[in-house]
């Protein structure tokens, strides 16, 4: 029964267009999920190698603050802080002691600075060039782009599901007349929609993978690593939530069917 219904929905040329739309949506959603990684790696590639260590080091700007060993140990417990150490600079007539806070990655320095700022500890960066400043600015908009892409992608999928169901309305009503129960029809509806989505998803993921693993790295001369866990969760959510919404009402049109 299901094979026949899936074959029927795939034979409809309009649904092939929806498959193409889903391919595009899944490519865009997965690019959006991994956009922070792409942006970060690109900017990271622009920071000179010799300054990478300094780029992730902060110093306490207020010379009057003296941290005890206990304070330093407490600081190390903060996420992303790798080490806290005292650096002694020998000046002409005196020694200057600086407390350095080593962060795991230069991209997390702003976050740590904000945390320490809230604790009354003002910090400065040992190294900050135009690329780092550029990254800080773009980071604000990047998250907005990511969330908007996912929301728009989800809505696109939802509207597509609703239209697919609209197009299949007459066939579903026919099934009702032939004696298919509403629960069976709902099952068929879910399976038909998932069939279209899964085809679009797999082709979309393959194309995204080619773009992510080969095209972007070659163009930007960087190495990328996909956040698989986040990708899987978000891809499932952008499919399941519209599926629930669309199929929840999928058989409501049937009850009014008459000849």
């Amino acid at each position: 029964m299901i094979n026949l219904q899936i074959k029927s929905i795939l034979k409809n040329k309009i649904n092939l267009l929806y498959i193409i739309l889903f391919i595009i949506v899944f490519i865009i959603i997965n690019l959006a999920i991994n956009l922070p990684e792409i942006i970060y790696k690109y900017y990271d590639s622009k920071i000179p190698e010799e300054y990478k260590e300094q780029a992730r080091t902060l110093y306490i700007a207020d010379g009057n603050i003296e941290l005890t060993n206990e304070d330093m140990e407490n600081l190390k417990k903060i996420e992303h802080i790798q080490d806290v150490k005292i650096k002694t600079l020998g000046m002409q007539d005196y020694e200057l002691k600086l407390t350095n806070i080593v962060v795991d990655d230069w991209k997390n320095c702003s976050k740590i600075q904000n945390i320490l700022d809230n604790q009354g500890i003002l910090t400065g960066r040992e190294y900050e060039d135009d690329w780092i400043k550029g990254y800080e600015k773009i980071n604000i908009f990047m998250n907005l782009v990511v969330y908007m892409s996912i929301i728009i992608g989800t809505f696109t999928i939802l509207i597509s599901y609703i239209n697919i169901l609209k197009n299949e309305k007459e066939n579903h009503k026919l099934l009702y007349i032939l004696g298919y129960s509403k629960s069976k029809i709902r099952y068929i509806v879910c399976t038909q929609i998932l069939a279209i989505t899964i085809i679009g998803f797999f082709i979309g993921i393959i194309i995204f993978d080619i773009i992510f693993q080969y095209v972007i790295p070659n163009i930007l001369n960087i190495e990328l690593e996909q956040d698989m866990y986040k990708s899987i969760i978000i891809n499932i959510l952008v499919t399941i939530i519209p599926l629930f919404i669309a199929t929840g009402k999928s058989t409501s049109h049937i009850k009014d069917f008459k000849m």
Partner: protein, 222 residues
């Protein structure tokens, strides 16, 4: 035992807080081995009556009995089972799935009938295709068929689960005279072989084939 019986049947709709009476005090029995023609002008309630018999709609008041079983209080799943097992539908617009072949359209109702397995489905489909004379068109899609051929597929599909009741709503409405006669002959043959066939139609040709003609006027049977 009557195949179908309606006792004191009333059907009303609410339209903008106004009650519209569609069927008024319907008392009728439909027997096996008979072909009934329900005639009447547009708006007389013919299709509503057919929808009610087919469990697609419910009476506002009164009883509908199919094989002496009262239908009105049955759950949706039970009504679906009755439609699957007892009733075959034929429509004016054929209502074939355009993305399925002739064979697949005929098989569609069989998938939910637990009495069928794969082999018996194929055997039954073969039998029905031969019955309606479409052996050479079995792998064709509805768009490749003539109107008469499409209606024959629809009749074959209606017979897929061996129902004892056939409900036909203007089955020859979209057909030329030759095809109209062919379809009516098939339906007559079905009634003579034991089924209760009920046809709603404007066409006077149907009267020639009917064992009994019922006239509906403003929701009342004359």
């Amino acid at each position: 035992m009557s195949k179908i019986e309606i006792i004191n049947g009333y059907k009303e709709y609410l339209k903008k807080k106004e009650k519209i009476s569609v069927l008024d005090n319907i008392n009728v029995k439909f027997e096996k081995e008979k072909l009934y023609a329900i005639m009447g002008e547009s708006g007389s309630g013919k299709t509503t009556l057919l929808n009610i018999i087919g469990t697609l709609d419910t009476l506002t008041q009164g009883k509908l009995l199919i094989n002496d079983k009262e239908i009105i209080n049955l759950k949706d799943e039970e009504k679906a089972k009755i439609r699957m097992k007892e009733i075959g539908f034929v429509f004016q617009n054929f209502y074939l799935n355009p993305n399925m072949t002739v064979e697949e359209n005929i098989m569609q109702p069989m998938y939910i009938n637990p009495e069928y397995n794969r082999i018996s489905m194929e055997e039954k489909t073969e039998e029905l295709i031969k019955m309606v004379g479409l052996e050479s068109r079995r792998t064709h899609y509805p768009k490749e068929l003539s109107g008469g051929e499409e209606q024959r597929v629809a009749i074959a599909r209606a017979l897929a689960n061996n129902p004892e009741i056939i409900l036909a709503d203007e089955p020859t409405g979209n057909l030329d005279k030759n095809n109209e006669i062919k379809i009516l002959e098939i339906l007559k043959d079905l009634s003579q072989k034991g089924r209760c066939v009920i046809i709603v139609s404007h066409s006077n040709k149907v009267i020639e084939y009917a064992d009994k003609v019922l006239n509906l006027k403003e929701g009342k049977l004359e």
